[in-house]
Amino acid sequence: MRSVAIVGAGMIPFGELYGLGMKDMLPMAVAEAIASVDNGIERPELQAAWFGQLGTTDGFPAGVLADSCGLLEIPITRVENQCATGNDALRNATFAVGAGAYDIVLVVGADKLKEGSTGRTFWNWMGMARDMAWDYPLGLIAPASFALHVARYMYEFGVTKEHLARVAVKNHSNALKNPKAHLRFPVTIEQVLAAPPVVDPFGVLDCCPQSDGAAALILASDEAAGRFTDRPVWIRGLGLGLDRVMHQHKADLTTFPATTRAAKQAYAMAGIAPRDVDVAEVHDCFSGVELMDYEDLGFCGRGEGGIFVESGATSLQGHVPVNPSGGLKAKGHPPGATGVAQCVELFEQLRGEAANQVPGARYALAHNVGGPTAVSAVTILEGPGE
């Protein structure tokens, strides 16, 4: 497979975007990505698009992208893979370019969670992730699905609510400087611990917001990339892992096997090890999940997630800064857009243009885990170098 690069990346600010419909958000994100291309790109140069959207706001996703962005002449495929949707859209687009079918393609991710009421959203989204006959009526809402894991994880490894709170404090702090973040306010450990409960052990400040958002990337083959930029960001590793869909069938809730499977594939493809990762955007939909991600991605040993965040290793000054954008926790989590937006942040990190720049970052990792904690995508990027 030939090498594939990201040559353009853009996103709209995440938030409760009541004034913007899906047909407004998509062209805004695509325009941002086009504008970011160093040497410019014309819309007709795009040869195909992959669109990650979990929901179907305003109907038929691929058609809405084609129609709203004036892309009627190219094939567009909608990708849906729960919270791994965005990174899986990137994965499929990369393979198409790598295989030689196209030279220049568009990847878009978007979702709109604030289009309905919060309570209604719980049931609607559970319908996409739960067994209809057995589990759906129990009311295992998304935070509860993850809390089943985190509660057991805390029990087995002595991880405390303070450890969880440190994730929220770190990611909120990072979001302060990110103009695209949904929640731009600092929080303290005391505030996180005292916040109203959502699903034990998560309080409201342990949870990501329900966000609207859209993000876009422009990919080019190694031959084509030089026309657009001298500083391409290379897609080096891609992984997609799955797991049992019902919690009843997951042997060990203290780990996400979907993540370890995806990470194993991505590290092998990139030819690097976890210690080579300089900066990461990982799935922190709920604070404790980021601690489990550290372990599943190999940044620290089993059961060490709590100590690891406490040590500062994942803060901006640490040896593997995690979620410099603010993460899902503070930047926001419109699922289809999330993975794409992670790569927007890492594109900027690897080109030295990020708001919270990690000095000298060469390898960057993006990670999602979601649905009924049964799917994960991992993407590894490499910077342009000297």
């Binding site: 509860a144 509660a151 699903v199």
Partner: protein, 355 residues
Amino acid sequence: MAIAVGREAAAGRDVERVILVSRQAGRLSSSSVPVVRRALDLTTRSSIEFRVGGSVALAGALTGGHRSSLVIGVEADSSDSAAAALIEEGDGLARSGEFERGAPAVHDPTGEDARFLRERVWRPAVPALLRGWTGAVVVAGLPARTGREITKTSSSAARIVDVPGAPAALFGIAAIRPDDGPARVLVGEEGSVIAIDVCGAGWTLRHYERPVAHPLPPAPPDADIPISVSGFERAFDSKIGLAAAVCECGAVSFPPRRHCLSCGAQGKTTPRALPRAATVYSVVTVRVPVPSKAIPYSIALVQLDDSAVRVLAPVTDVPGGSIAIGDRGRLVLRAIAVREGITDYGYAFQPEIRA
């Protein structure tokens, strides 16, 4: 709850007739019949009947002359309780008197209507129904304080059973001690009180009782939780019977899988009932408002005893947030949700009461 006590009372025997009595029997429907049948492991030869009413209706079912009947009383309002008895030949139960007034239905045991019932029903009924009786007395189905007050003047010291609704009659009979000799049980509901005489010989009451001491949160109005009727039907036997699929190779799957993950065979399974005792592997408590759910509510992933099977189950009969990993309990059948008007049953985790 009704099923749990019914299983215990039936003790695996063949039952010709099941009579389920509840003040909320109107909430049951014809679709509940197969649920009861499957959950009690009954054959289609058994008839199943729902009766709307309280303890008086249940007492009527007990003394109605049916043999080999399983009589179950259950209430699932502010005062969850259930009891069941298997009526057989020579049970020694007889209705010995009744007192009736046209008092209205009330479900507020502390309100003004309760005072009305005490004065206009119970106070005149007790002496009337105990006239000339010298044996033991049990009064069931009224608040303990009221019961003590109105039985003060009766000739025999009365035992008071403070359980409302249909199960009260069975709890009353259960309160009779082996050395009591002949005993008279007064049970009342709304405007009626009836007396049942129990003579020890031949009467074999298999009962199970579990009045819940604390009020549960009121159920919110039913939101429209979608259902797939075909999905409901496919899951029915294994879900209501708590039955796993066992492959020819011995692998156990629950919820049942058609494709065996051990040997790869397709559809070579037979159903097998799972153990009901379990230990909490993980548990969460939802405290944020979710339409159609009463909060807080807990959901547990429980490990069944002597089995590799885990079950994801709502936690029942205790307030949300009151159990922890490692707690013991058992799975009991409950109405989990009302979905598009259809009651969806499944197993819930009932923790052991901790000291």
